[in-house]
């Protein structure tokens, strides 16, 4: 980009940030209405919206360039949180989301698909939401709530494990982790070639006409609420979108909604996001943010055409996010239409970090394998202009995932911040501080169960259907949302994670992290997240005492939750196929500086004529 282009870009990005910042600080009239609504005796509805593999910085209200007006409006009416944690993968998060306790207790000590040999059959590793826990839907249903679910379940396939059996009186669910967003319904796993759907506990033989996951889930949720509202009882609605999980699919008229928006490449987009995040105070100035992963090329070193081709995948991802936002707006409009919006607490989260792994390659397997046959039958098409349509399986890869997870390191699957940090927006009756950004509270997905129950005035049961139920480990946000505290946790409280043998503990600003090479060192590292949210500087040598304290907490976590370290891990051979990491220097190699080369000139260079010159 030439100087003029840089100036224009800076001005336009500045205008964008200012507009967003002013819109977040200028609370709309409706937000006032929500806060000032007269308290009623009616219990609040709870609308829990979960995006699938959405990145931390994708939403406009978190610094993203993706158009998400409905969620941005929700952020204006409610509160955003910077330090909200989930698990590195989806079913693990969902187990905690619905049970309020640790995944190793709730049955998803590991993903069902990836249990290590020594974990299979062990308590906490059932691969389904086990009977040691009760789902929040069951508790709410037992206390007079309507309970609805639309979208992804991924917590069990058997009749006693599906949503209808775990507390949802109405549901339209896909039981598995991912697959086609269209009516061809292929599953990513060949073992279950078609995605099993259930409606109200019964298998769905035929998907609705014009099925597209995000639209149909929205249709169903609106239908459930409409059909159940006659008795005036409150509802708990779990709207569990499968977007923007791969394969990146979109209806035809949305395919090019972000046409050429990402041709600049991942580095430029990430820098723009970081600038906006700083303007929005989501990222503090002066802190260290994650470097581009060492094995990824800087985007300016790629030919313009390859940048366009890579950018097309991000276009699809952005389109899926905006489409989801648009559908969420439909739900909000409907709730306003029936007069329930102001009595509905809305919680919006993602289930894990953005997807940077090549799941397509993993599921397609090797030539001759069943996975490969499955891919041949269902998602072999990969031509550039066909991406996003039926029969394709596009993912946007680690470079864009890092953009989605800015300012953090890594992405889905890893216990680095890039795998476990999620946006969180809470809005509704009793939520104080419209438009505010809470940076003090360290929150966890396990907190949602006690929060929902406290907002509904319900105690978590010690037993359910004659079974003893594991205690909730999450902490209710009710006091924090009401403005009485800044955080439900003290500086002594801590959080723990383990998945695929990668593990972490956070206490206050400190975090220890154990990651497989090459992204970790096969050993513990210590980071200060306040100064180093990008987890760039291992402080274990400087603060050995802190390191020891946190490792002791890890031992406590492992003991308390029955964590079994797997004999095998999908990430144990992450080094394979990757080059050795080497330090980066701005001045080396000496030909760097290509970033300053005008983009238009690069395009010209790539043309036949200019190339000949």
């Amino acid at each position: 980009m030439d100087l003029e282009g840089k100036i224009c870009s800076a001005i336009s990005s500045g205008i964008m940030v200012l507009a967003l910042a002013s819109s977040l600080s200028a609370m709309p009239a409706h937000a006032n209405d929500r806060l000032q609504a007269e308290p009623t005796n009616k219990k609040p509805n709870i609308l829990l919206i979960v995006a699938d593999d959405l990145g931390y910085s994708d939403l406009g209200s978190y610094g993203g360039e993706i158009n998400t007006p409905e969620l941005d409006k929700l952020a204006q009416e409610g509160v955003r949180f910077t330090d909200f944690y989930v698990s590195p993968t989806c079913s693990v998060t969902r187990a905690m989301l619905l049970s309020g306790t640790d995944n190793h207790v709730a049955g998803l000590g590991n993903m069902a698909e990836l249990n290590a040999p020594n974990q299979i059959g062990k308590p906490g590793y059932e691969g389904v939401l086990n009977k040691r826990v009760v789902s929040v839907a069951s508790v709410l249903r037992d206390n007079g709530y309507h309970t609805y679910m639309a979208g992804k379940w991924h917590l069990g396939l058997n009749p006693d494990e599906i949503p209808h059996a775990r507390g949802f009186e109405r549901d339209f669910s896909t039981l598995v982790g991912g697959g086609s967003h269209f009516d061809d319904a292929w599953n990513v796993e060949w073992q279950t070639p078609r995605m099993p759907y259930t409606e109200d506990g019964k298998p769905v033989d035929k998907l609705p006409e014009d099925f597209y996951s995000t639209k149909t889930y929205t249709d169903k949720m609106v239908q459930f609420i409409e059909e159940g509202r006659g008795d005036g009882n409150p509802f708990f609605a779990y709207l569990s979108y499968t977007a923007p999980h791969g394969p990146l699919h979109l209806p035809d008229d949305w395919l090019r909604r972000y046409k050429n928006r990402y041709d600049e490449g991942w580095d430029a987009i990430r820098q723009q996001r970081l600038a906006r995040m700083q303007e929005l105070s989501i990222v503090d100035e002066g802190v260290s943010t994650a470097d581009r992963l060492y094995f990824l090329p800087r985007s300016t070193a790629l030919t313009p055409a390859v940048r366009v081709m890579q950018g097309r995948k991000m276009e699809l991802y952005a389109g899926m996010v905006e489409y989801m936002d648009d559908q969420i707006g439909r739900v909000f409009d409907y709730l306003k239409e029936i007069g329930e919006y102001d009595n509905t607490v809305v919680i919006f989260i993602s289930d894990n970090g953005a997807e940077g792994n090549d799941l397509r390659a993993m599921v397609a397997g090797q030539v001759g394998s069943m996975g490969f046959l499955h891919a041949m039958n269902n998602f072999a098409e990969d031509a550039h202009n066909s991406l996003g349509r039926k029969g394709t399986y596009a993912e946007y890869g680690p470079a864009w995932a890092q953009v989605s997870m800015a300012p953090f390191r890594l992405f889905k699957g890893w216990t680095a911040e890039g795998g476990i940090r999620s946006p969180l927006i809470v809005s509704g009756p009793g939520v104080q501080g419209a438009g505010e950004l809470n940076k003090q509270a360290v929150l966890h997905v396990m907190d949602i169960v006690p929060t929902a129950l406290e907002l509904a005035g319900i105690e978590h049961p010690a037993t359910h259907e004659g079974r003893e139920i594991a205690a909730v480990q999450g902490k209710s946000w009710a006091g924090m949302l009401a403005g009485s505290t800044e955080s439900p946790r003290t500086s002594e409280d801590w959080l723990g994670w383990e998945l695929f043998n990668n593990r972490a503990i956070r206490q206050g600003d400190w975090k220890i992290s154990w990651l497989y090479r090459p992204f970790g060192i096969d050993d513990w590292q210590l980071f200060n997240l306040a100064e180093d949210p990008g987890e760039q500087f291992d402080l274990s040598d400087e603060f050995p005492q802190k390191m020891s304290e946190l490792v002791a907490l890890w031992d406590d976590y492992q003991e308390r939750n029955g964590v079994i370290m797997g004999e095998r891990s999908p990430f144990e051979r992450s080094r394979k196929g990757l080059p050795d990491p080497v330090p980066e220097f701005d001045s080396y190699p000496p030909l760097r500086g290509l970033e300053a080369f005008p983009y238009e000139k690069l395009i010209e260079m790539m043309s036949g004529k200019a190339g000949a010159k």
Binding site: V306, S607, G608
Partner: protein, 346 residues
């Protein structure tokens, strides 16, 4: 050890090559332009083509091999023709354009019932009612055509342009001119060359459905055009004139696989009233052909096409059929260089 390759780049080249050569051939003026004749290629693309055409006609009225060729009424004619073509794609006035050169050659035979032939047209020594057979061999009149896109296609200069290329509606303007330097014998009723300038003005248009990606592409193509003819001032010592010929060519094309497409073809022509020394000969022509084309991309560079068409409507006193077999070789400097770097140890 097998080297791993840069997948994005491979995809890129695969796309570029597909865009360049899937549909490639140069317009075949002797019969029609053919399916996907006006699909746009990257600036700097070159195409060469050879094709064999076998034409067979029986008519009780004036007839022709192609719009330039006048054949006397009440005749049977066969022609075996070869056409060599070269086309180059470039950008003209910031519009994707192409220039095509065509050279025709071969032989033609005609059998004429002289009973109905006006006596003044009988060749010397041929009595009325006698059977008359003539043949001609040699080169035809070379043609040159310029095609410029008017709407729907951006300049296709860089790889970025190709990657971003997803046409829907497109509209071109094309002009063709034949130069009368081919074989011509003023004693014969039939010749390969025509001894007159002629040309065509066309407005090729098309609409693309669905993904513009190999294996997915579908199009409807329509090319209305008009042929204009100078007079032949030495047709058996007389002056031959023809009215303009109005023509509509249509195709519905669809990818059957990434490398294979088929097309249903339509060619409708009307006009071409002939006059010799100011006297009308025969009637105005009206003929409609339907046909089928199959096109197979053999390699990144080579495409084979075959087609067949026959008249199914129009004048009832006419039968014709056309069989075509065409080989196309296309290349672009960058694609060839890419192959050098990736296949030969780069």
């Amino acid at each position: 050890m097998k080297k791993s390759r840069n997948k994005p780049t491979e995809l890129l080249v695969g796309f570029a090559l597909a865009a360049v050569f899937l549909s490639v051939h140069s317009p075949a003026f002797a019969v029609d332009d053919g399916a996907r004749a006006y699909w746009k290629l990257r600036d700097g693309s070159h195409l060469t083509s050879v094709q064999y055409l076998f034409l067979d006609m029986q008519a009780t009225d004036s007839q022709m091999f192609d719009p330039s060729h006048f054949i006397f009424p009440n005749s049977e004619a066969e022609a075996s023709l070869f056409m060599a073509s070269y086309a180059h794609h470039f950008t003209l006035f910031d519009r994707p354009s192409s220039m095509a050169l065509n050279l025709l050659g071969g032989s033609a035979d005609v059998d004429i019932n002289t009973n109905l032939l006006p006596t003044q047209f009988l060749p010397p020594g041929v009595a009325a009612g006698a059977s008359l057979s003539q043949s001609a061999t040699g080169f035809g009149d070379p043609t040159v055509q310029l095609d410029v896109n008017l709407l729907g296609t951006p300049p296709l200069v860089s790889t970025v342009d190709l990657v971003n290329y997803e046409p829907t509606w497109t509209l071109d303007a094309a002009a063709m001119l034949a130069v009368p330097i081919g074989q011509y014998d003023d004693d014969k009723l039939i010749n390969i060359g025509q001894n007159r300038f002629y040309g065509r003005l066309a407005l090729p248009m098309k609409y693309h459905f669905g993904a513009f990606a190999p294996g997915y592409m579908t199009s409807i193509e329509l090319t209305p055009s008009v042929w204009l003819f100078d007079e032949n001032d030495d047709f058996l010592g007389r002056k031959l004139e023809n009215d303009p010929l109005w023509q509509v060519e249509g195709h519905v094309t669809h990818d059957l696989t990434r490398n294979f497409f088929g097309s249903l073809d339509l060619l409708y022509r009307r006009g071409f009233q002939s006059e010799i020394d100011g006297d009308e000969v025969g009637d105005e022509l009206e003929v409609g052909n339907l046909g089928l084309t199959l096109n197979y991309q053999v390699t990144d560079n080579v495409t084979i096409r075959s087609s067949y068409s026959s008249n199914l409507f129009g004048d009832s006193d006419l039968d014709n059929s056309v069989v075509r077999l065409q080989f196309v070789y296309g290349w672009h400097r960058l694609d060839e260089n890419f192959k050098k770097l990736t296949k030969h140890g780069g």
